[in-house]
Subunit: 251 residues, 2 copies
């Protein structure tokens, strides 16, 4: 998971809130490869977070503090703080005196999250249209080509990854830290549902066309058109997700 051409990578949690100035924040998320010996400050939080988001812990799996401390080579204090943070972030559920679990987001909540994402990315697209530069457009077109290549190569996972990058690029252009942080956090919560939309037959082709329209709209620096393009794209994602969930539920 590297960063191809200095692409902005939106951070999660508090670091992303660093309201710097105008420039697109290119905050590095490099996971500190600290090992057992190194007291990695908040790295217990980062590593635990990554483990959850990557699915190395199952939803609803109990997170016993002592075990985690041993696993990550950290003290129970650090683990405890990490769990509090993750609870506030929505990735973990803590019940008093009963420990913490990986939070299971329900189908309903996944849909709600996606709807919020629509609203936020709509807004971000609008702002991006007002700030986009020719250099940005070039980069976006380039990404579009790569995505096409992935689809043609029958590589849905690679496509999905580029898809994320594409949207993150737009967030960066919009230069709205608050919205970007929120949408990034939401995404990490619902990451478990992502594959369901990508793997629908015919979806990648359609998705590509929608992305192309978004780029066109941005290139024209047209806020309304960009907003509409983004809304239509993501609304279709929501619809696809709805269908996938319905199918999954009545199988």
């Amino acid at each position: 998971m590297h960063n191809p051409a200095g692409l902005p990578h939106i951070l999660t949690g508090k670091e992303g809130r660093s309201m710097a100035t105008t420039s697109s924040a290119v905050t590095e998320v490099s996971i500190p490869a600290a090992e057992k010996g190194a007291r990695g400050g908040s790295s217990a939080y980062l590593r635990l977070r990554e483990a959850i988001v990557d699915g190395r812990f199952q939803p609803n799996e109990r997170l016993v503090e002592a075990d985690l401390a041993r696993t990550f080579g950290a003290g129970r204090t650090a683990i405890r703080a990490a769990l509090v943070r993750l609870d506030q972030e929505g990735l973990v559920e803590r019940q008093p005196n009963r420990g913490a679990r990986v939070r299971l987001v329900s189908d309903r909540e996944a849909l709600e999250i996606e709807e919020v994402r629509v609203a936020l990315e709509q807004m971000l697209a609008r702002h991006a249209a007002a700030r986009v530069t020719p250099s940005h457009v070039r980069k976006l077109r380039q990404m579009l080509e790569e995505m096409t290549a992935r689809v043609e190569a029958g590589d849905p996972l690679g496509y999905s990854e580029l898809n994320s990058r594409f949207h993150e690029m737009i967030w960066a252009i919009a230069d709205q830290a608050v919205a970007s942080t929120l949408v990034a956090n939401l995404k990490s919560q619902s990451i478990r549902f992502q594959y369901r939309t990508i793997l629908q037959p015919g979806r990648p082709d359609r998705s590509l066309r929608e992305h192309a329209e978004i780029v066109e709209a941005l290139a024209a620096r047209d806020p309304d058109r960009s907003e509409v393009a983004m809304r239509e794209h993501l609304s279709r994602v929501v619809e696809t997700l709805k269908e996938a969930i319905a199918r999954h539920h009545t199988r």
Copy 2:
């Protein structure tokens, strides 16, 4: 999970993620002077949060753990956990080894927050239009009358409070927990800027008309119209805030 005919109250996600009341008419200022016996559970977090949101701690004010522990009659452990939570929530800024401060949201960030709020409330209005009942409409109209009364009585603070209730009511109707939680959190972050928009001359009258149009649109169960009405209302709030900030900056 939603609140049938009653007043929309605090939207509670989970007891872990619950948010304190935004600003009740009468805020509990009394800090019960430390009865050691009565451990208030997670109330250290709630009370500290309320203290910050209510402005009993100034922005950028240092939050020394030992002091807070004495003030709230809690142990340092509880305070520490509360600070971690509030940091993740965006109300507090913690720097390693350097303690915690009340986070100061810049003018720029306040605007960004408000823009996100526009996007989210737009979406919430749309969903509310699809779920609103006659009972809801009655309640909304009633609130509108009360708000009119407050404006005519020249009571901007009371109007502001009802204003919040009005929007919360719509959130409740929309029945979108994720969006509601987010917008509520954002609001508590930017609460310090709220008065700036309310106190603009002529603003209350205009605001009232905009609210009326929102109610009409909802009563008609028209999603598009409701969304537009909400967007126009909040966009104007953003504009007002922009002007207020500009004026404040060049005074």
